[in-house]
Symmetry: D2
Subunit: 343 residues, 4 copies
């Protein structure tokens, strides 16, 4: 059985599971104060070249976004995001449930444009009626984006400069960060994120863990961040569950290897799509590929292999997402090739 | 190394971990729609003798309480709880963060009194100014309670009768339910809870899982409960993580065995305390035991073994909690005995 | 001293004040249960040709929008509005503070397009991942809009038909309704709103009252609407304050007269602008007129008479809003004419 | 027709209405930036002997409490109040709707005890699990209390000292402050409140205005307080409505006179009750008097004059509240005397 439905279809990378097994019966204190979590934090600080970083582990992406935004925003502020941003369209109103308005900007293949960002901040903050409006507080972006695209170092620096100019905080959602960091030609790495962001998270769930995201505050966490975690139902009694997993992910280059595997298989998948005359809807450098099929072929494909429905660009066609991951084997690709050939 | 600090100090019961390993590379769809979650639901329905139950898996107790309460309460309602109720004192204001007021009643060894509950509901609902007040909507109780005590079947039936009389919903927090179900002399079982409650949860985190709680709606879940889960950041992409674990917990009597082990070791611990002249602060039938020590002995004890601080009943004494669990071995007890003897 | 800054620059219409004076020392019960509020409700029901309407009085527009939306929306729903909708841009995030996401659609001179509305509802409700999204629940529109434009009867019927098709509720913000109802050529009246809307409000603050808006639920109010009012801080102890004022506004055609005066003066203002070669940015039939001036003339104008800043369509020009109201006298217009002549 | 139902049964003090009439057609800018609001602020600063005070006008008590608490509390904090505190029992969960937990302490004739307050703060802030709990942030008290009782200067100083010791903010709800300030024997005045409180409000609605409360921040308002007002639906477009009224209330000793009238009539009412053998349930120095009647006499009384139901201390008796106010005339008292005589 194969799947390209998403990048969270299997359990954990075997090395992560092995470490859970190995540590299973060593008693530890709860709530993230265990030795494994501490060790994981040290390894992540090293990978980020940021010895002062405060690091917390949460269990999933929507939760992480909500808790981090709640902690970074003042009550009079909202969060700026691309109109395709995950927090704006696929989190069931979680930010708003915490009282936080999303100020949407146009998307450019999933990305924010620094110039449009600057214009929005400048317009809002100079408006005579700004107290009747929502102040810009945090800039949210995802890397890779929801379309699998990547920011360049120059783009992130431009966005960061706007943030500094207007007193905004920069937050990067790295749900699929492993795949972004290993994409061909990217000049974005963890130390860059640590230098430019006020907060970002290193995705675990989609990058080899059973669950878990590592939130990094390169300078310092907002006051009482533990209380935010607890209050929003995000504190795991067995904090070790995330600690052990992230310790494993940041040992012996595992996170790198996972990213590499996802990217390599995605690029080979692109070759297969081309060979089988399935046009790309979008060419992306990371682990998500978007193809376009007429509805009949989409229906036939879907019967043979799980893929992700994305949208109907017109009534007769479907954009379909193929996601690869650390568990995408050569057999997956070969089987997909056979399926497409026979479609 | 031993511990009595809490019942979530180790990883998962080995049989649970084994099942995670076994299923790890079988692809599944996300968000709880996987085959393991379905299988777990079937097994839990059987254990509850409630074929119609809707069951959802969440990752932790505070989260579960918040999401369930948000889904059960109307905007004009609050939740009634004992003043020692976990939601009232140890969840960092999570219910209030969702706009839900806790209406506190006196506690009787951690339990609600049906008569006081009835009086509160009757008084509120007959008040001429009730629209200026918070309507009673849900009755929250924990079983075992925060003090390790248990309701009897008769008490639960009396509370349930009050709920039916006043149109309240009954919700039971079963974070430590395994230990409650196996306590000596209890007449409360899963089918009873399914019969009396509108919702309850079967604790996993403290009863053998890495994480996870199984919410049971014996009749039907509130509309769009999935949306509540997602909106409050409680939806795991890899829903299989909980599904696999609960499938294991409800296979071959594992949940029972876990409960039994926790209770047996707690009762033996009581004997040890008595032998070593450490008075019980409270005699409980489940897996938490509360002892009283003068502050000096408490300090000495704490250096040798992790235990839980509870309170200072007077300036010179400390109430300490000893929690046992599925991982409490004979060695744990023997070592504690030696430590107490030498205190 | 004259002003065109807005339509809430003076106190109350003299007939409203007179009625406050007349009733001042007659004791009444509180919270809107007084005889004047009852009388006002009867008169509004008659004006709406809707004998079954439930009517509540709140003190201001942002408050009214927030309370009504909170009462109409289910927790999984959001509100659809034009991107220029008052709730989206000028209420400081009040809907979001209550957990309600605004789903913004393009604006067409401030108006929603029924076709775009239909497409959004159809797309959202057929999305496989709708539980991960915000359901459409309420359609919000303002009449007159923030740009002073008006819907036609046919447009409102088309929007209402979409609402019925998809189970959405229609809510109309009538902050300036008096001026909309008396605009030249409109075919929208109160009975039409009562027939098409689930809720709408008849603006008092901008239409002759000191404060106050009358919320009309043509069929029935959401359950416990009084509790929503109280909980959101919107209940006036002296509910009579609104009751007396709306009784006066709906006696002897006062609300009509107020609307007529606002519209007539606005149309005469347009003539003056044309005579003085100040181009309209937008031609509107109600009491707000938008003109465009180069920045230097805008600065000079502003020194002589209060007007409303709207936007900078380009760096060198300013869109300015002239608002008229019941208190706009002939002297106001003559003085403005002199000022513009001398600019 | 007479009433003792509450202190908001009539309109405004005639001098307040006269001032509204006088200023009615003078155009002013909105949102509290008008000349009358500025003048009122100056007069209140003088009355408080606090030239630096920031002052904002809101429309009602529940709203004021909610907005002020939202602005004073950090997300990890809650508000301490007596269990009879208005915010705890009679505001429909308004604080909780903003995410704020009320930490209830025992009441002593409606008052907080400084020692109990100190113990609560000390216990919470020294708890090892405080991040799992709600931090104490603000102390709320009402003066006069819901029982009509008053704090002494010494009590307020003791409470203020606890606040300073633990970094809490002190907030006083002065819904009936006029009557408290003029009570026989009180040593609490406005300058004392300005010296001890971080925020307090001077009640208008119950003390002579149509609506409106004046929030005083003796040192400075929380950042962006205007945004809090707007976001919570509390901003009046015609801010002048409150400004004009408070200007009148603080001109020529009107607020004092209003307080004096309410207190004098309440004390005479006590004499009447005594003469007619209606026992006081509670002896209070301000404008609310609580008497106890058997249920039959209560029913008979209620048919003849509106009074306030308070509670049933036992099944056969009713506690009834008599409220006086600025509009309580001698005729009111004489008529009540006749009614009681005939009961």
């Amino acid at each position: 059985m194969i799947t390209f439905e998403n990048d969270y279809s299997c359990g954990a990378h075997p090395a992560v599971l092995a470490r859970l097994l190995e540590t299973n019966l060593v008693p530890q204190t709860g709530y993230g104060f265990d030795a494994y979590s501490d060790s994981a934090r040290q390894k992540i600080r090293a990978a980020c070249a940021c010895p002062s970083a405060e690091i917390h582990f949460l269990s999933g992406g929507t939760q992480t976004n909500a808790v981090v935004l709640a902690s970074l925003l003042k009550p009079w502020e909202g969060v700026i995001a691309a109109e395709t941003g995950h927090i704006h369209v696929h989190e069931a109103g979680a930010p708003e449930a915490l009282g936080c308005k999303v100020l949407a900007l146009p998307e450019h293949l999933g990305k924010l444009d620094p110039g449009e960002l600057r214009a929005l901040a400048a317009t809002l903050l100079s408006d005579e009626n700004v107290e009747h409006m929502v102040y810009p507080g945090v800039v949210y972006l995802s890397h890779p984006t929801e379309w699998g695209t990547l920011y360049t170092k120059a783009e992130l620096e431009a966005i960061s400069a706007v943030c500094r100019e207007f007193g905004l905080r920069l937050y990067v959602d790295g749900a699929r960060l492993a795949y972004g960091l290993r994409a061909e030609g990217t000049d974005v790495d963890l130390p860059l994120l640590a230098r430019l962001c006020d907060a970002f998270y290193i995705g675990g769930t989609k990058c080899g863990a059973l669950c878990g995201e590592a939130v990094v505050f390169p300078r310092q966490a907002p006051p009482h961040f533990l209380n935010f975690i607890k209050k929003h139902g995000a504190m795991l009694a067995k904090g070790r569950l995330c600690g052990v997993q992230f310790e494993a992910l940041f040992t012996d280059g595992l996170y790198d290897a996972i990213g590499r595997r996802g990217v390599e298989t995605a690029q080979r998948l692109k070759t297969i799509l081309a060979r089988r005359s399935v046009p790309c809807y979008l060419d992306t450098p990371s682990n998500q590929q978007f193809a376009i099929l007429d509805n009949a072929r989409y229906a036939a494909l879907r019967e043979r292999v799980p893929v992700g429905f994305w949208s109907h660009p017109d009534p007769d066609h479907t954009v379909v997402r193929f996601a690869t991951a650390w568990y995408t084997t050569d057999e997956y690709l070969e089987e997909l090739d056979r399926i497409l050939a026979a479609l």
